[in-house]
Amino acid sequence: MAARRRFIAILTFLAGLYFLLEFVLPPTVPGRTSRGIYLSHDPTVVRLRTGAGDFVDVAVRPGVELSMMVRDPTGKLQAKVQRTREVSVGETLTARTRTFVFGGLRNGLVVDAEGAVAALRPGEQLYLDGSEETPADLAALPIGSKVRVEVRSARVAEVQWGSVTLLQNRERATIQLGPHVAVLREKRKGTPDEIEPYEARVGDTLAIGHTTFLRDQRDTAAQFNTVLGTLALGMGLLSLAMVNGRKLKRSGEDRWVALAFFAAVAVGVCAGVYKYYDPNTTERAFSDTIVFRLLGPVGSTIFSLLAFYLASAAYRAFRIRSAEAALMMATALIVMLGQTPFGMYLTGWLGEQLKALWLPNVAGWILRVPNSAVVRGLIFGTMLGGIGTALRYWLNLEKGSAMGGGD
């Protein structure tokens, strides 16, 4: 128990520390970051070695995209785009060197829509835009198709890092790019955007420096969060199955409830899987019936009961026993009437000149002014409470079951 508790505490602290540092620290290392007005740049050139032993130099310019081909959970190839600064010698990459509109074949050479020869270097292949698996069949490729020129699964043999020329204190300064050197475009408002040097426009204010890596891991942290959230779903189902499984073992009246639970889970799983089937199949019809003809009406019915309870509760609770209660009731009546068409029906006759007295406008004023003030106060209160609770969890001051403590 103590080890589990310590493990949860350390993990929580490290996760919290990451988010705090990611929020507090700038994206590039302070003191090693150059700032200035963008003037020009020399592109980085990535030398790729294909499987056939050919070398292809890819200058990182507009239209060029470097990516790693990874297989997604369904086994299909998926391109994961990489920033130039993340490229390192020895890794395997796919580079999209350019795109153009296919204009046909002339003397065996590929031409674009304008009739210019789109010479392919050794190692480069044409892919129909949208098709990921196989190169385009040039003989069958329709004229006018958008195509990509790509070098697939080539090893990075060398990287010739480019540079960016900035105007700093009225002097030109050339900043050398390199691995993990990020180029940030500063904005008047908000956090700076990381860009490729070719995306900069003359006059942009850039900050160039070695990345602190924290921001690079944001997507990983988000995915971790997604995995945890999904795991929680499974754990909830497992926990319910265990509880109902125990009930099923016992021969009490509860076992019918437990049996209904397992039957509902089985039907729910089938409905969930079948929802991906084509609309005209029996499986899809089964899923739609469960969701739209069973769950839908049941859910709506339960929710609609609120209207009856609300009417009954309002009748019993809204009694004018003090001046405050009278004020509250008057406000509630105005807001309620103002939100329905009856508000306009009752006061619309006042005309445009007395528009401010129309019930919807009075209700709107109440919601926008006094209500906003109250809600803001509530938000401040709950947020301060939230910060306090978060700090308790982060610093392991919370002793509840969520942190590995007793039940």
Binding site: D72, T74, Q78, A79, K80, V81, L128, G130, S131, E132, K146, K187, K189, G190, T191, R218, D219, A221, A222, N225, T226, L228, G229, T230, L233, K275, Y276, V291, F292, L295, G296, G299, S300, F303, S304, L310, A311, A314, Y315, R316, F318, R319, I320, M329, A332, M336, Q339, T340, P341, F342, M344, Y345, G348, P360, G364, L367, R368, S372, V375, R376
Partner: protein
């Protein structure tokens, strides 16, 4: 007389339920028309959505399911019918919702697409559900395709032939507006999707929680909202006002459900007043009896 009125202090709840049932049910059988006032919060989001340029998409986070379909369905359908009518491209996602949410939204998308002859992948895409808010919201703002490598139907989001709508869509800069439609949308959208605040945020929520959004609208963090069924009815009326007969309102629920809702409110108001009258009468009758 006070003695008779004092009986209003203790109306059996079954009577209240019955009158509520009649008030909500009757307008479905009678053609009742009531004047509609469009609130500025609805008008503001309609205008931003309506002015979507061709190079941008509307991002809709549709998290509602059966529980809140009474209010969220009319809102979602009013919005989607507007987008389909105008040919505005939109991307539907669900974040931390019930796993059934994409199924509910897709059903409406398909129905409206059939009306206006729109095509999946070209005019709209449903990317399904993902967990991991609020961090995942930031990832959506940076690169939506990295969060959703496949759509709800299993197509790769990088496949330009099947999902041309997503070509040129990367992140926050490509979204005209974010619509979050569910019982109580998450405030995290305002903070995480685009920290620079370039993407206007609009909520479609249950009427009862709308009071919480007004401070964010007045501060400019939210562009506006559709407040419950009233918001949906107002949105429908704005589209009708601008596009006239081109707008096919067959099957839309906002305007239709507004009347039962109004009558339901009227019953609540009537009983609050009657209850207080009964309370006063009971006091008077009590005093009279003691004399």
């Amino acid at each position: 007389m006070w003695g008779w009125l004092a009986r209003l202090d203790r109306v059996p709840r079954q009577t209240i339920y019955l009158l509520m049932f009649v008030a909500c049910g009757l307008p479905f059988f009678l053609d009742v028309r009531l004047p509609l006032y469009v609130w500025p919060e609805t008008r503001a989001v309609f205008e931003v959505t309506d002015s979507t340029p061709p190079n941008k998409v509307v991002l809709i986070c549709s998290n509602w399911v059966q529980g809140s379909q009474g209010e969220n369905w009319p809102q979602y359908e009013a919005l989607v019918s507007h987008l389909m009518l105008r040919g505005i491209k939109f991307v539907v996602i669900a974040v931390d919702s019930d796993p059934l949410a994409p199924q509910f939204s897709e059903r409406i998308n398909e129905r409206q697409a059939a009306k206006y002859g729109r095509e999946y992948g070209k005019d709209w895409v449903n990317l399904g559900m993902v967990r991991g808010a609020p961090l995942i919201m930031a990832s959506i703002g940076r690169n939506i395709k990295s969060v959703f490598p496949r759509d709800y139907r299993g197509n790769s989001t990088n496949d330009a032939s099947k999902l041309p709508i997503l070509q040129g869509v990367t992140g926050a800069a490509d979204f005209q507006i974010l619509w979050a439609i569910e019982y109580q949308p998450s405030l995290d959208w305002m903070v995480w999707l685009d920290p620079a605040g370039r993407v206007p945020v609009a909520f479609g929520s249950a009427g009862i929680v709308t009071t919480s959004w007004y401070p964010y609208i007045s501060s400019g963090q939210m562009k506006g909202m559709m407040a419950g069924i009233r918001g949906a009815a107002e949105y429908e009326s704005l589209v009708r006002e601008k596009y006239g007969s081109r707008y096919d309102q067959e099957g839309l629920r906002g305007g239709r459900l507004l009347v039962p809702l109004a009558f339901g409110h009227l019953v609540i108001i009537a009983f609050i007043l009657l209850g207080n009258l009964g309370m006063v009468a009971k006091r008077r009758a009590g005093k009279g009896g003691s004399r």
